[in-house]
């Protein structure tokens, strides 16, 4: 019995590791190509170990595009989006979970229904609207519409229902708290874990967003990182692979770092958000 188990153990670990290698290999390859020259890259057989050219490649990258400019634009847009989303979603989620008011059911059903609408349906008209109100080339076009985040409200509502007891709010009310203070002083501190997940999730989404920023922003000074990368790739992929890969590496590292820091809780919450019924 003992032996049979250990054989299975080896086989399962072996299979899981093959999958793990497939998961990791593109990252490894990205590191290899970003630390090598473009000529190295075109060698046959290919070189599969990292080199020492990263700083050279970075210098080339910074000469070719305003990488840090795009990087900072992205940080600004992603941070602003995240702050707005966590504020408005936690507020709406809290009140939906804990208060009764006429029309609540209908309002919440409408909110859930909006999640079903494919965003591409409004791609063209949204662009035209942005043109009309003069938000083309402006970060406002990236930040403001994304505040209407139905998933975020749903997520906070679910969490609030399980985490905040009615008695707590009742005693807050007796102490003279108004509705907003009930949310701000009593709700928010308890909702921290739910808000943390929503913040990371929103930040990642904003960081990786591509189609909409590409459509509304064409001024290279205002590019967000994904658009800058795609442009760089489009122009230089046949001439300077190493530089393109270096840019890709630098743009990927921040999110990987954030993810690895919070991975355990984040993965659990992703699963919880999906199978909650």
């Amino acid at each position: 019995m003992e032996r049979k188990f250990s054989i299975w153990k080896v086989i399962i670990h072996f299979l899981l590791m093959i999958g793990g290698i497939i998961s990791l290999f593109p990252f490894y390859w990205l590191i290899v190509t970003a630390t090598r020259t473009t000529t190295d890259f075109m060698r046959f057989p290919p070189i599969l170990v990292p080199g020492k050219q990263l700083f050279n490649n970075m210098q080339n990258l910074f000469k070719t595009i305003d990488f840090w400019g795009s990087f900072m634009n992205t940080i600004f847009v992603a941070t602003a989006t995240t702050l707005c989303v966590i504020f408005f979603c936690s507020m709406a989620g809290f009140f939906f979970a804990k208060f009764e008011f006429p029309g609540k059911k209908i309002l919440f059903s409408v909110l859930m229904a909006t999640m079903m609408i494919p965003s591409q349906l409004s791609l063209v008209p949204s662009f035209i609207i942005m043109q009309k109100i003069g938000w083309v080339q402006s970060f406002k076009a990236l930040i403001i519409p994304s505040i209407a985040n139905a998933f975020g409200i749903f997520w906070v509502k679910q969490y609030t229902e399980g985490a905040i007891h009615d008695d707590l709010l009742h005693s807050g009310r007796i102490d003279g708290c108004g509705n907003f203070r009930l949310y701000w002083n009593i709700g928010l501190p308890i909702l921290k874990p739910a808000i943390a997940f929503l913040a990371i999730f929103t930040f990642m989404g904003a960081w990786n967003n591509y189609l909409w920023p590409m459509v509304v922003i064409s001024d290279p000074k205002k590019y967000v990182i994904q658009v800058a990368l795609a442009q760089l790739n489009g122009v230089h992929k046949d001439t300077d692979y190493a530089m393109v890969m270096t840019g890709t590496l630098l743009a990927t590292i921040p999110l990987i770092a954030i993810f690895l820091t919070f991975s355990k809780q984040f993965i659990s919450d992703i699963a919880a958000g999906a199978i909650k019924d």
Binding site: W8, K9, H13, L16, G20, I22, S23, L24, P26, W29, T33, P45, P46, F88, A92, F95, K98, F99, F101, P102, V110, T114, I117, P118, Q120, L121, S122, L123, V124, P125, F127, I128, I129, I144, P145, I147, A148, I153, L169, H170, R173, M204, N208, Y210, L211, L229, A230, K237, Y241, M245, T248, T252, L255, F259, K264, A271, A272, A274, I275, D277
Partner: protein, 313 residues
């Protein structure tokens, strides 16, 4: 106690059909409407209004600069006869199928392996498998382009190493579709595995124990207990992969550009929509195509819903 809201569970709200009473309730709770209003205001402006506007647009011929021209339903007729539009639907479905089937099968297998009783280091595997999902699609497409390169691609190197002939991944439509599908598989298998894993861990262990006592084999347990109980989770992943798959854009666009590649194998519906709007400046026709896409997604959602309902019965 002016403006006091009723905290759930604290007070029994009297159900009344009296209109003036409802109005009183609304007035009493007016601050709450204010706090939940941002979503609805923004959705009206940036969600609902554009959708209504896209109906108008689909009846117009417009390049974005000159006067829009009302053309009635002619763009819908044009769409139905547009071979490139139908081709983009076919491409999207091929890529969706080639990515969703292996992705969900692999995800299920991975979830099972990680869930095995005597496995250590579960947390490490979860992180490892989820990592691709955190990476941006743009970055994935850039890296995969070098793996699938016709000339210096790593995959072709390995193929020739194995004595096979290299494949022109990015030139032949069917191989291009395989390359695009592989990106989706790489990026989403771990995500789905994590969800399956959570679903598996929700299945009560005493069910398995009972099956064991009754002398059920592993295969029987799998098909009679695990799969039926995992069914809602599987349906969820199928629905999300379908909606995601029908909206595929960034993978082909970054990999081979706005044109869909040689032979147009990578021209998905959304890429075609984008191309009509922002490359060819046919805003009206692009809006028409978006309604075509909406129709397809709606049909799929209805099919999904029917399947789910049948399962529930």
């Amino acid at each position: 106690m002016y403006k006091q809201a009723v905290v759930k569970g604290c007070t029994n709200r009297k159900k009344t059909r009296n209109v003036s009473n409802t109005w009183l309730e609304i007035k009493k709770n007016k601050s709450i409407y204010l706090y939940i209003s941002p979503f609805y205001i923004l959705f009206l402006i940036f969600g609902l209004f554009p959708i209504l506007y896209s109906i108008v647009l689909s009846f117009q011929k417009w390049d974005g600069i000159s006067e829009p021209q009302f053309v009635g339903l002619s763009q819908f007729q044009m769409m139905l006869k547009d071979i490139d539009f139908w081709k983009s639907i076919l491409n999207t479905f091929i890529i969706w199928f080639e990515s969703t089937v292996p992705m969900l099968v692999f995800a299920l297998i991975i979830a099972f392996l990680i869930n095995s009783k005597f496995i250590k280091g579960r947390e490490v595997y979860r992180v490892l498998y989820f990592l691709p999902n955190v990476t941006s699609v743009v970055a994935v497409a850039i890296v995969f382009a070098t793996l699938f390169g016709n000339k210096y691609g790593l995959l072709n190197y390995f193929l020739t190493k194995l004595g096979l002939s290299p494949i022109e991944w990015l030139k032949v439509p069917k191989w291009l579709q395989v390359a695009i599908s592989s990106m989706v598989v790489w990026r989403w298998t771990g995500y789905n595995a994590i969800i399956y894993l959570a679903g598996l861990q929700k299945i009560p262990t005493n069910l398995y124990e009972a099956a064991k006592i009754d002398g059920a084999t592993g295969v029987q347990t799998f098909f009679k207990i695990t799969i039926p109980l995992l069914n809602p989770v599987i349906i969820f992943t199928v629905i999300t992969s379908t909606i995601g798959g029908l909206q595929l854009f960034t993978e082909p666009q970054v990999l081979i550009g706005d044109g869909g590649g040689p032979g147009g194998g990578g021209m998905t519906i959304v890429l075609y929509l984008y191309r009509q709007a922002f490359v060819k400046h046919s805003f009206g026709y692009a809006a028409t195509i978006s309604w075509g896409l909406f129709f397809i997604i709606a049909v799929f959602s209805i099919i999904n819903w029917l399947v789910v309902r049948r399962q529930a019965d």
